[in-house]
């Protein structure tokens, strides 16, 4: 039996790039009739942490918060048999599944099969293994009860398992972004998940779709050098995938562009060594990818390949870091820089008394040095905005620190426009666990 069936093509679209993405382009994709699968990436490193913050406050939450609003927009697509794969589960896949079942029934869509993937929550495993935290230079045990969550990046295998059981919707927690597309592509085109070259090719497609408008003109424009049409209504990308190549395009009538430049910038986005892009599915090799602009918002990509999957799975470990306070105040006109620097001195004097020695304090002057640090030869600004950021264990101290910025109304002359905030600081940091120790479970439920 050939491991890779030949001749087939699959059209698959992007429906979301992160937890708070727009819904309208997903609705347009669903209504287009162009695709039989839509992949929804709902997560990023930071959104996963925020989902855990929500679940800690309310154990019934922690899933994607858009499901109830999204489902009515997909009604026609789902009624016609269109399939959806997404990491809607975030920190709570069962809560996401419950939202889906309820929402489908409310739309009169009974009998829809929904695959639920569990097992990305590996908190017990990283505790038992005392996993190393390389970016922090310590281990899980050393951080004690500050460790609040651990989610392994999960690949396409359980997605394919659900699709084989005729699930029309597949959801899980920390399903890896490209795997949301690798699963459907390999399932539909008959590619074995240990055909590393094929999985590398499918991973390239997933990589180009999972960031939504990042492939069609988002995070791209730099007038006058780079400009795309109608950037206020960028379309999500879709791909027509075949054995040797994929054509990425977007829906007719949407804004933005799919061209050589939008594709190249996304091709190496968040890639380190282009020969060695590690995902749960494969060690993908994008070093020899060819980008061919066909015109008309169509670009053909080929040449991606891959080697055996990594022996470990990457885990995002959530670390309780107390609270983060921020506060901002603006100074303008002649002498604004000197007044802002005077305000910084006042602020530091108060914070020195207020905060504990281990607390973190950062003060920037936006308009001068907040993004790239102090530079020689910077012109004197018309205005600057002082920004304080503090991380501390105590919510009360965080509030007091932010309040010190408000009190700068009584500092140097002309300070205005104070904004402050205090939020829980839940950090995420990577760890790695042997993949055979991560036990996944799939279940197909019916609406």
């Amino acid at each position: 039996m050939p491991r890779r069936a030949s001749g087939g093509t699959l059209a698959i679209g992007s429906g979301s790039a992160y937890a708070n993405d727009r819904l309208a382009p997903a609705a347009a994709m669903a209504d287009s009739g162009r695709v039989s699968y839509i992949g929804f990436d709902c997560l990023a490193e930071r959104t996963m942490a925020l989902a855990h913050v929500r679940r800690r406050r309310n154990p019934a939450s922690g899933q994607d918060e858009r499901i109830r609003r999204l489902l009515p927009l997909l009604r026609g697509y789902l009624a016609a048999g269109g399939r959806v794969v997404g990491n809607f589960g975030a920190a709570n896949p069962d809560a996401a599944a419950a939202d889906f079942v309820e929402g489908l029934r409310a739309l009169g869509l009974a009998g829809v099969r929904l695959g639920v993937i569990r097992g990305d929550d590996v908190l017990d495993l990283v505790l038992a293994q005392d996993a190393e935290l390389p970016e922090l230079g310590t281990t899980v045990a050393a951080l004690g009860d500050r460790i609040v969550s651990a989610n392994a990046y999960i690949g396409a295998e359980p997605i394919v398992d659900c699709l084989r059981e005729d699930a029309q919707i597949v959801l899980g927690g920390r399903l890896a972004d490209p795997s949301l597309f690798v699963g459907p592509i390999c399932h539909e085109l008959g590619w074995s998940l240990d055909d590393w070259e094929a999985v590398g090719h499918a991973t390239l497609v997933g990589h180009l779709l999972e960031c939504g408008v990042h492939s069609t003109g988002g995070n791209f424009e730099d007038p006058p050098y780079r400009v795309v049409p109608d950037p206020h209504r960028l379309g999500f990308p879709l791909a027509e995938v075949s054995e040797d190549s994929a054509v990425v395009t977007k829906l007719d009538g949407t804004g933005g562009a799919v061209d050589e430049r939008t594709m190249k910038t996304q091709l190496y986005y968040e890639i380190h060594d282009p020969r060695t892009y590690l995902t749960p599915d494969v060690t993908a090799d994008f070093s020899q990818v060819r980008v061919e602009d066909l015109g008309g918002d169509r670009v053909r990509l080929s040449g991606a390949t891959g080697r055996e999957w990594p022996a470990t799975l990457k885990v995002l470990v959530g670390v309780d870091q107390g609270y983060r306070a921020t506060g901002e105040i603006s100074y303008g006109g002649p002498g604004c820089l000197e007044r802002a620097r005077r305000a910084e001195e006042i602020l530091r004097a108060h914070l020195d008394e207020l905060l504990d020695p281990g607390d973190h304090v950062r003060i920037d002057l936006q308009g001068m040095n907040s993004l790239f640090g102090d530079k020689e030869g910077t012109a004197y600004p018309e205005e600057v905005r002082l920004r304080l950021a503090v991380r501390t264990e105590s919510e009360e101290l965080a509030r007091d620190a932010a309040h010190e910025v408000e009190l700068l109304y009584f500092g140097p002359a002309g300070g205005g426009g104070v904004v402050t905030s205090v939020v829980p600081a839940l950090g995420v940091t990577p760890a790695y666990v042997p993949r055979e120790l991560v036990t996944l479970e799939t279940e197909v439920v019916t609406s």
Partner: protein, 99 residues
């Protein structure tokens, strides 16, 4: 000449690592890019923003370079107190370099 006049870029984040890929508009400029945009020069341009190494990968197929900046995000997107925790603005900072 500023890099911005002949090239475009995108930066991304994974943990405390930033990557910045840079591509020339005209393939004829690629040798110049490879010659002038060295890892050492990028390291110097980013100064105190980067605490770790800067590694460069050549992407001749697409006339680009990929720079990987280790310990460049003040601890990473969920840990840092920086204004731009993802280093989204790094893609613009690199284009300010003279080539």
């Amino acid at each position: 000449m500023k890099l911005r006049e002949i090239a475009y870029s995108r930066s991304g984040d994974k943990g405390d690592v930033s990557n910045i890929c840079v591509f020339v508009d005209d393939p004829a400029d690629y040798p110049l890019l490879v010659e002038r945009l060295t890892a050492d020069r990028v390291r110097a341009h980013f100064g105190g923003l980067v605490e770790g190494d800067v590694v460069r990968y050549e992407l001749p197929n697409v006339h680009g370079l990929n720079f990987v900046l280790d310990r460049a995000l003040g601890g990473g997107v969920s840990m840092t107190l920086r204004v731009d925790p993802h280093g989204k603005s790094f893609q613009s900072h690199v284009l300010d370099m003279e080539v």
